[in-house]
Amino acid sequence: MNWLDSHFPADAEPTKPGVARGRCDPLDGVPKTVEAAHPDAYVIYSNIKVSRPRPDGRAPVLTGSVQLGAINSTFAAH
């Protein structure tokens, strides 16, 4: 994820404005590395809502929750 959390583009000087996007080492995101280190990674998205802006801040719930991961597993939607 170098474009998100490390230096990008790879051949650019890291001190140039805009090149550093996060603290990670450029090699940390290599899929073999990250998948070996975190085979049980997952994320839960829940209470997904969409609405016009309303003064009370409330919005109708359109979708329940979705859990994704771990790697190569299926996902569950509720």
């Binding site: 994820m1 998100l4 404005p17 805009g18 550093a20 899929p31 990674a41 016009r52 994704l68």
Partner: protein, 252 residues
């Protein structure tokens, strides 16, 4: 993408969204195996690091609004508009934005990203930071139109966080040449591209107004993924085709 994955528009598509057809995004991905009801077999070259992937001569383009691209340590939200509205098959390297033609393509592959760290606040998002990524939180994204109506031109995208009952405004930019704002607008994008020396293909394909037009009809995609093509040390021509998305197909 079309809600039915292209089933009704393309008679040769007998599968539909339930079986994964119809996906598209602003990278105009060429690893999609069926586009517009046809196999993407022309010039299929295979992938050096995945026997099940490869690149055909067609790509599946459409505008993309990245509401949340993040991990434990970094986050960005990014509009990626296109010159075209709705799912569009690109059929040549220029339209697909391949390699040196990246900034001729139908879609804005770079996007106009707001990443707090990149925009100068290194203590905003992460474990123990202003938004503590080690604990649950809510993200809020607001799409503001010029006249406040649903049909008005999109002019601004705001971001807030809520954690422990507290509203946390997005971080404010701190980069020379960029106004101190905490939202995305066409002027923010122009200033950011200039300050960082990036090509403003975002503006070339229509900027926020084009993004707003596409936002009227979109499918929500949720995924967990890593960057096979971007992060592995590969020749640029392979890296170009960006992310391998393990996308959750749209469920009817």
């Amino acid at each position: 993408m079309a809600e039915d994955g292209g089933l009704s528009k393309f008679p040769t598509n007998k599968a539909g969204a339930k079986y994964g057809t119809g996906y598209c995004d602003s990278q105009c991905p060429r690893d999609i195996k069926f586009i517009n009801g046809e196999a993407n077999v022309g010039s299929w070259g295979g992938s050096p690091n995945d026997p099940n992937s490869g690149f055909g001569s067609f790509g599946a383009c459409c505008a993309e609004m990245d509401i949340w691209e993040a991990n434990h340590d970094a986050t960005a939200y990014t509009p990626h508009p296109c010159k075209v509205q709705g799912p569009t098959r690109c059929e040549n390297p220029a339209d697909c934005g391949v390699g040196d033609a990246r900034y001729q393509g139908l879609c804005d592959k770079d996007g106009c990203d707001f990443n707090a760290f990149r925009m100068g606040n290194k203590d905003f998002y992460g474990t123990g930071k202003a938004v503590d990524s080690s604990k649950p939180f809510t993200i809020v994204t607001q799409f503001v139109t010029a006249d406040g109506t649903d049909t008005g031109a999109l002019v601004q995208i705001n971001r807030f966080y809520v954690q422990n009952g507290k509203v946390i405004p997005n971080s404010v930019t701190s980069v020379a040449g960029i106004d101190a704002v905490n939202h995305i607008s066409d002027s923010f994008c122009q200033q950011q591209k200039t300050a960082f020396g990036d090509t403003n293909h975002f503006a070339s394909v229509g900027g926020l107004k084009a993004m707003g037009g596409s936002l009227k009809n979109m499918v929500l995609v949720l995924s967990i993924w890593d960057d096979q093509y971007v992060d592995e040390p590969l020749p640029p021509v392979e890296r170009e085709s960006a992310r391998l998305l393990t996308t959750a197909p749209y469920q009817q």
